[in-house]
Amino acid sequence: MKKNPFAKRHIIETCMKVIMLASLILVTGTLGLILWTIIKNGIPAMSWEMLTQVPKGGFYMGKEGGILNAIIGSLYLAGGGTVLALVCSLPIALYLEAYLGESKWGSYVRLALDVLWGIPTIVYGAFGFAVMVSLGLRASLLAGIIVLALIELPIMTRAMDEVICRMPLEVEQAALAVGSTRLEVALRVVTRQMLPGIITAVLLAFGRGIGDAASVLFTAGYTDRIVTSLFRPTASLPLAVFFQLGSPFPEVRARGYAAAFILTVIVLIVSFGARLLSSRLGKYTIK
């Protein structure tokens, strides 16, 4: 039974293990490389001005100003989109679980959500703009919010559905057994039980929304002022990155990197926040 490490199958085993580990390191290392690139190029251009001022005259030629307009705009866009998406997706997720279960209609709705999830955001953007043109509307915060809500809807719903599906059947049946209606089970038991998962889903969708550029490109427009009305166009961080990178002035490009850094930090905070919350809020959860 002595081991012969040079037997063909043991050599293959070792080689595969090495290649697999190398792939894992490659993937992890890529994440590190991306973050490092953004930090290295973003930090030098960061300043208090960037966060607290709107673009001043000559900003796009390297003069003074910041991207507060884009930061606020993005928070409004993604925040509004997330709220709007939540209003629709929580009922859908609850309905899928509480009333539909494994029924045919339920699987159609899930399929539809999966298909929606797969539709590229540029198509949503084009769709949104085409609707606006048909109605004679101009780019506005509201249009951006609606399109982002459409994009976030399937992400949020499927993520919620996934956690609600894991709801222990016994808990649900226990609630039904004491005479609750389905609605009461859905609102009182399921939402409480699945709160961490629901919050994680909301944050996940928010992160997606705030980072998306292709959808707000036509629908929300861009402006140097801080948006004050739902019906005015607004700047957004991803577009701030995109537009400034195209500039011939190195100072402006550097600000693009800084904007990318800010965007990345927001997304990372949201992502870690989701992780943290989901473990913190688990105390009402029956496992």
Partner: protein, 251 residues
């Protein structure tokens, strides 16, 4: 006669839980040894240490030795795949591989490059299916998916598959617990036939099966070996209080 398997000072842990405590036993060659005991007593764990399946579970630790023909299978330069070739396993539920009946039996031989050509493989497949008592039932549909067999047939297929890598020891982890009485009987019959060529170790929780099969009995209680003796001795004259209670059906 030299015992086939010797266990010396074996201790096993799942995390912090001490599941096998100071096991010292010898398992005789060409006999059926039955490991009995109430559930949770560590009998399956003990069995898993014989083919180094114990280490498949994460966060486990093992001290002591398991010797097969005098060689410590936990020695650093022992090839675990060779150990598992020598020590076959018949699992609780039959797990047929997702391939044809023929390929199931041929699988192990291919893995170990045991047969040089297709004809030799074919002969071997027939031979082991005959030993497992399955040849008559399946020889017309050898290339059908093995999942089409009944669960009892599947277990015999697993037996044939295990025998095809030419082991010396067969472990059975409650190998009939998922089967109907007729299929169980069939498996038991095969095991009794096989003991002239193989050393067989069976874990069971049914006393009657133990009585039908055992030449030698290991009785375990709470991770320890409470008593070990030849079957007639232990069934008629148990020494240990727990064994007595177990045999009287108090558990």
């Amino acid at each position: 006669m030299e015992p086939h398997i010797q266990v010396k000072d074996l201790n096993a842990f799942y995390g912090k839980q001490h599941v096998l405590k100071n096991i010292n036993i010898e398992i005789p060659r060409n006999k059926i040894t039955v490991i009995m005991g109430p559930s949770g007593c560590g009998k399956s764990t003990l069995l898993k240490t014989f083919n180094r399946f114990f280490e498949l579970t994460e966060y486990t630790r093992l001290t002591g030795n398991v010797l097969i023909d005098g060689q410590d299978i936990y020695n650093r330069d022992v090839d675990v795949t060779e150990v598992r070739k020598v020590v076959g396993l018949l699992a609780q539920r039959p797990a047929v591989l997702p391939m044809s009946i023929f390929d199931n039996v041929a699988y192990g031989m291919n893995i170990h490059n045991m047969k040089k050509d297709r004809n030799k493989t074919r002969e071997a497949v027939q031979h082991y299916l005959e030993i497992a008592g399955l040849w008559e039932e399946v020889h017309t549909r050898l290339h059908d998916p093995a999942t089409g067999l009944s669960i009892g047939q599947q277990q015999r297929l697993c037996l044939a598959r295990g025998l095809a890598v030419e082991p010396e020891i067969i472990l059975g982890d409650e190998p009939t617990s998922a089967l109907d009485p007729i299929s169980s009987q069939n498996i038991e019959k095969r095991l009794i036939e096989l003991k002239k060529d193989y050393t067989i170790v069976i874990v069971t929780h049914t006393l009657r099966q133990a009585k039908r099969l055992a030449d030698h009995v290991i009785y375990m209680y709470l991770g320890e070996v409470a008593e070990t003796n030849s079957a007639p001795e232990i069934f008629t004259n148990p020494k240990h209080e727990r064994t007595k209670q177990y045999l009287d059906g108090i558990f």
